[in-house]
C-alpha cells in the first residue's frame, strides 16, 4: 500500500496534466458555445506546457541562471540548476498558444458579425438558411 502511495505521489505532476488535458479535450468536443470551445483549447494547450515544464524539475535545484561565483571559483554543479531546455521550448509553445487563441477569437468575432450568434446549433441553422 505504501509503495502504491509513494508511486502515486512521486508522479503527481503527470496525473494533474492528464486530468487537465482531458478536461480541455472534453470541452473542445462537447461544448456548443464557441468561446467555451476556445477556453477548452487553452486548457488543453496549457496542460501540455505543464507537462513539459514539470519534466525539467530537479529537487533542490534553482533557476537556470549561472551564479557568477560558481563560474569564477568552482565547477558548475549540474544538479544545482533546473533543466533549461523545457522552459525554452514552452516559451515558444506559449507564444503559439496565444497566437492561436487570438486568431480563434478573431474568427469567432467574424462569425458573430455574420450570423449574430456563436451557439453551434443556432449557427448551423443560420448557415443552412443562407
Amino acid at each position: 500500500m505504501t509503495d502504491l502511495m509513494e508511486f502515486v505521489v512521486s508522479r503527481f505532476n503527470y496525473w494533474i496534466y492528464v486530468v487537465l488535458m482531458m478536461i480541455g479535450l472534453y470541452a473542445m468536443i462537447s461544448k456548443r458555445n464557441y468561446v467555451k470551445k476556445l477556453i477548452g483549447m487553452t486548457i488543453f494547450q496549457t496542460s501540455i506546457i505543464l507537462f513539459y515544464v514539470s519534466i525539467g524539475v530537479k529537487s533542490n535545484a534553482t533557476i537556470p541562471i549561472v551564479d557568477h561565483h560558481d563560474v569564477v571559483h568552482s565547477e558548475i554543479l549540474v544538479d544545482h540548476y533546473a533543466n533549461p531546455l523545457p522552459h525554452v521550448l514552452m516559451l515558444t509553445a506559449i507564444v503559439v498558444g496565444v497566437a492561436t487563441l487570438g486568431v480563434g477569437l478573431a474568427v469567432i468575432e467574424k462569425i458573430y458579425r455574420q450570423h449574430g450568434t456563436i451557439e453551434e446549433p443556432e449557427l448551423l441553422a443560420d448557415v443552412d438558411q443562407t
Binding site: 508522479r11 537556470p64 533549461p84 468575432e109
Partner: protein, 251 residues
C-alpha cells in the same frame, strides 16, 4: 455528442495514465531529459556565450531559429487577425445589436494614475529586455509589458487615444521591423561566410569584441527585435479584437 466525447476522453486519458508509469519521478535529477543535452547547456553556456541566463542563451542562440519562427508566429497572427476582421459584411443592424456601450467619460483619478504609471512600466519593460542576459526576462517578456502599457492607455482613456500613440499602420511597421532585425542579424552572419544565426562571425564587424562576446551582443540585438514585434503585434491584436476590426469604438 456528450457520451461520445466522454468515451473518447476516457480512452485517451487511460492511455496517457498507463504510460505515465514508465515516466521518471517528480524532481528526478537523473532522468533522461535532465541529463544529456541539459547537462551540456548548463556546463557550457557561460563559456560559449558569456550569458549567465541559460534560458536566454538557449532561446536566442542554441535554438535561435525556433525563436525567430516564434516571432514570425506572432507576426503572422497579427497580420492574420487584421486580415480576418477587415473582411466580411458589415451589417449595420447587427453592429448595433452588438450593443457596444458608448465610450464612458474618462475618470480623472484613473487617468492621472495611468499617466504616472505608464512611463515607469515602459522603463521597466526596457529593463526586462536589456537585462534578460542576467536575470529572468528577455524580448518576449519585455515586449508583453510594453504592449500592456499601451493597452493600459486605451483602458484608461479610449481606443482612439491609444491608437494616436501607436497606430495600426505603425504597429505593422514595427512588427515587420522587429522581425527584420532578427532575420537581418542572421543574414549578416551568412554574408560574413558563417551559417545563418551564427553570431560568433559578427566579431569581424563589431568593434572590440571576441567571438564569445559577439554572441552575447547579437543576442541582445535579436531580443530587441523580438521585443518590437511582440509589443506591436500584441497591441495590434488587442485593438483589432476589442473593436471588432473597426478600430473606432470598442473599449
Amino acid at each position: 455528442m456528450k457520451v461520445f466525447a466522454f468515451c473518447l476522453v476516457f480512452v485517451t486519458g487511460v492511455m496517457l495514465v498507463m504510460t505515465a508509469q514508465d515516466f521518471p519521478a517528480w524532481g528526478d535529477a537523473h532522468s533522461a531529459p535532465n541529463q544529456y543535452l541539459s547537462t551540456y547547456y548548463i556546463q557550457h553556456t557561460y563559456r560559449d556565450t558569456a550569458v549567465p541566463n541559460i534560458v536566454t542563451a538557449v532561446l536566442a542562440d542554441y535554438r535561435g531559429f525556433d525563436t525567430m519562427f516564434e516571432t514570425s508566429v506572432i507576426f503572422c497572427a497579427g497580420l492574420g487577425i487584421a486580415a480576418i476582421l477587415s473582411f466580411g459584411p458589415r451589417n449595420p443592424k447587427r453592429r448595433k445589436r452588438l450593443g457596444l456601450p458608448p465610450s464612458a467619460e474618462g475618470d480623472l483619478i484613473i487617468q492621472t494614475t495611468t499617466r504616472l504609471l505608464i512611463p515607469v512600466t515602459q522603463l521597466f519593460a526596457l529593463y526586462v529586455i536589456a537585462h534578460g542576459h542576467h536575470s529572468p526576462g528577455g524580448g518576449f517578456q519585455g515586449g508583453v509589458i510594453l504592449a500592456a502599457s499601451f493597452i493600459l492607455l486605451s483602458l484608461a482613456y479610449d481606443l482612439n487615444m491609444a491608437l494616436s500613440r501607436l497606430s495600426d499602420r505603425l504597429a505593422l511597421l514595427w512588427g515587420n521591423g522587429g522581425l527584420l532585425i532578427y532575420a537581418g542579424i542572421g543574414l549578416i552572419c551568412v554574408a560574413l561566410g558563417a551559417h545563418f544565426l551564427e553570431y560568433s562571425a559578427l566579431h569581424a564587424i563589431l568593434p572590440a569584441t571576441d567571438s564569445v562576446m559577439a554572441r552575447s551582443h547579437a543576442m541582445l540585438g535579436v531580443e530587441i527585435g523580438v521585443g518590437f514585434t511582440v509589443m506591436s503585434m500584441l497591441f495590434s491584436i488587442y485593438t483589432q479584437l476589442v473593436s471588432l476590426g473597426s478600430l473606432e469604438d470598442g473599449l
